[in-house]
Subunit: 285 residues, 4 copies
């Protein structure tokens, strides 16, 4: 299949590569074209603007860092909205549900459709086609998107017609992750303060009641005090927490309010580029 | 082996039964003897007081509901402290680390020893010998306790000499669980408020990033709004949270403070006998 | 929704109850009506024949023990084929893909459709709505069946249009399970023969590389030598192995041939009603 | 602590690095010294012979490819047996239980001891201190080895006094893995032959009943037909299967016999350097 692919950052790059290897033809645009170089070397075509990456009635995948970047490639200068026309936009960025809903309207007005399909997983999961992907949007559009999504993920789960729904699932899931990181930070701080080996305690939890990727990954980093590793950047996590807070029902939730305070404090110390587990440093300092 | 077994509540009963089936001889005491009836029917002997359940230099297992009950059977009227003498006390209740440390001193003064071995797992895990058990205490005493503990659990992990250490691991683990319950409550409340099917969302998380017993169990109950089921009673969870708060380093932790508020509120509404996931009702009401 | 439900054995009963509790109206038929009694007590209506359980154009769920039983309720005396007409048959039994394909044709000829949706999971998973369900059949029919299936399962995965596909997935999955049981039997036999504690060895594997339901469940039973428990009956497992062997490509597979020999041997010793893990007894005897 | 480290292949190298980072002083020997270069750069000292890597009464870790290599560094020219004297040999290679038992006698005769501690996990698990490690040997020696092993692994499980026991656990575990690989090969071959997408089927199993590292890893590679990746070399797997077959009770086991045939066939086709999942190619060719 001919696919436009827009956004080849640390997640977009391995995802695009996966589609290439599955036999698709890709036309790629990235703001910094040098980041897409490995894809050109593997046979992807180069687009000079988002609009050039898409074909009328075709399929385009977007994987960008935030609302502003996504809006730009669709509706900004050189944006693909009219060039795509009645085609399919698979919107995979972690953005606000509201933006996907609004863009969906714009596509519908041109006979096209948007399927929201944000991803859970890090770059190595993307490279192994092991992402977990909630998706939502019009049924016929989902049916067209599904085979592609299954080539990128190990689990693709549909959440109905609302093009905002999948990103609610993504933001709520990230909220669970951030809450878990804070509770692990407090828990292991207390374990350490009482003379226990933090790694041994964490290995025990992560091998029993909490034997799942989030606790194994985040817990491991907190136990070792390694917050530099290129995981989930604290500043991006704060962005996701902010988006979660804008959803219906999220106002005044007590754990959320507490987390917002911790992120504000961590950002004020200049830790925005560290892993989100740097939250744990607030306790030991 | 001849074993004294004290405390045959909803956890102690299946644990004692497991020991019987593994071929041990049990002498059992419980404050309400009728609860131990099934064990007598399977061959356990009946003790009229804690002191009668133990043999000088023997092994006794205690599984009681709180500090007061444990202290009572050791040092109270009819308590087994002197009757056990140089024997081994395997203390499996979820009590304060401080109590186990103090009782350990009392046993040491008589040539005996205490091994702390609190358990993670519900009655069905106890019945299937699938508990997860941190343990700590003097090395020689642990060596004597280990074969028994392995007949009760699927994982037994040693945490050194301090007879308080295992209960720190237990309280910190329960703290992770309570934090997870609150974050699930908030997360699924927001998902529901945005029109999503809470069960479908939870099934997705519990099958991917959070594919572990705690999220599958507590998340499932919160998603279905079923807080009656006989899981982890809110009043007992509050007790554990209070004990966690007494450990070194736990003062002033922000998530802990927030949780304490929520428990106080839930208790004030008379929900102490409900499952701890009833915390989620605070949001929907 | 009004649903016909046919087959209330040890799996069908908790599944039907789940649908009742989710608010559906059920009309139930079972060959032995007394097994459906609990459902009648919870408000289900009683049908005197399969055909009476369904409404023209309605939805019917079948959960039966084998090909013959399923064929009977559809096409036999009192069968529902014509009574259902253009309705939807959700076929959840573990039967041959070929039968579902053939029945699908019969339904299509009447304007109706069949969706195959066999289940993975035991009665307790059914009671907790935690089944795992592959499904396949015409897209429009799957869209109608999905909301119901999601109320029964924790994961529902679509495998395209072929009404036989889902049962291929089921039979292949059961084949993995039976192979795992045999390898566990040999592995633990050797561990035991070399003086190791089989339970301790199994707990180690089941907590690390093989930390998944199949190894935890079957491995646990083999380690303890408990083959009586009401799990997966050896005679039913042999049926599934036979059906697997009828699929394209399965002829001459070496592991399959070996397994068939083991089942034949176990059946010849009269162990058909034992748990499938009784295969392990062939070694120790 | 001062530690001798012998064998810095693809597993030994990251293990040694982990010990360096945990603050130990290492003296390293490897047959091909250039492979140990990264460790020298990080501060490890260089030994000109195995005997020079150890101190009298000290601790030495060995991580070698087979029985012959291990025997060589202990008893061969330049071997460390006498130089270690009353010290501790932590033997982590996947070798025969018999060799560890024999070497244990040799160490005991000099007042020293051997603890067997083979590992489950690939190089990336070694680099993240997430190995799973069964261990066995004299109790006092295990007590000395445990803190080191816990710095290398996420789970360390003790299997008693017999210095051969841990390697029986390792060989039996590898046997489970090889059996799983063969059953996955057959299962996915049939799924594919019936028109199913092998990756989708595997993702379903690996996310439900078989949600564990072995099925996720080996199943994923078989589904994608990628047997080149640097996992578990077929020739090494055959060696482990051979060692398993030498243990008590392993003679005449039917699954084992079948697997031996498959390995012989695969080796005869020159696939020894491929991943063990290349067994699946025997079906498709």
């Amino acid at each position: 299949m001919e696919i436009g692919f827009i956004g080849t950052g640390h997640m977009g790059l391995p995802m695009a590569r996966q589609l290439l290897r599955a036999g698709h033809s890709l036309k790629v645009w990235n703001r910094s074209p040098e980041k897409a170089q490995p894809l050109f070397a593997e046979g992807a075509a180069r687009a000079a603007a988002p609009a050039e990456a898409v074909a009328l009635g075709g399929v385009v995948v977007t994987m960008l860092s935030d609302d502003e970047a996504l809006q730009g490639v669709v509706e900004g200068p050189g944006g693909f909205l009219d060039a795509l026309g009645g085609g399919l936009h698979i919107s995979m960025s972690t953005v606000s549900p509201a933006l996907n809903r609004r863009l969906s309207q714009a596509h519908l007005a041109r006979g096209g459709a948007l399927v929201a399909a944000p991803v859970f997983g890090r770059p190595d999961a993307a490279a192994a086609a092991k992402l977990n992907i909630p998706c939502s949007g019009p049924a016929h559009a989902r049916a067209r998107a599904l085979p592609l999504l299954r080539q990128l993920g190990q689990r693709v789960e549909e959440f109905g017609e609302d093009p905002g729904a999948a990103n609610v699932v993504k933001l709520c899931g990230n909220y669970l992750i951030l809450s878990a990181a804070q509770s692990l930070a407090e828990c292991l701080f207390v374990a350490g303060a009482n003379g226990l080996d933090r790694k041994a305690v964490m290995d025990f939890y992560a091998g029993t009641n909490f034997a799942c990727p989030v606790y194994q990954g985040y817990g491991g980093r907190i136990a070792l005090g390694d917050h530099s590793a290129g995981g989930f950047k604290l500043s991006l996590a704060q962005k996701d927490l902010r988006l979660f807070g804008l959803q219906d029902g999220a106002q005044g939730l007590p754990l959320k309010g507490m987390l917002e305070d911790r992120f504000r404090e961590a950002m004020s110390r200049g830790w925005g580029d560290q892993d989100v587990t740097a939250l744990a440093r607030l306790m030991s300092e």
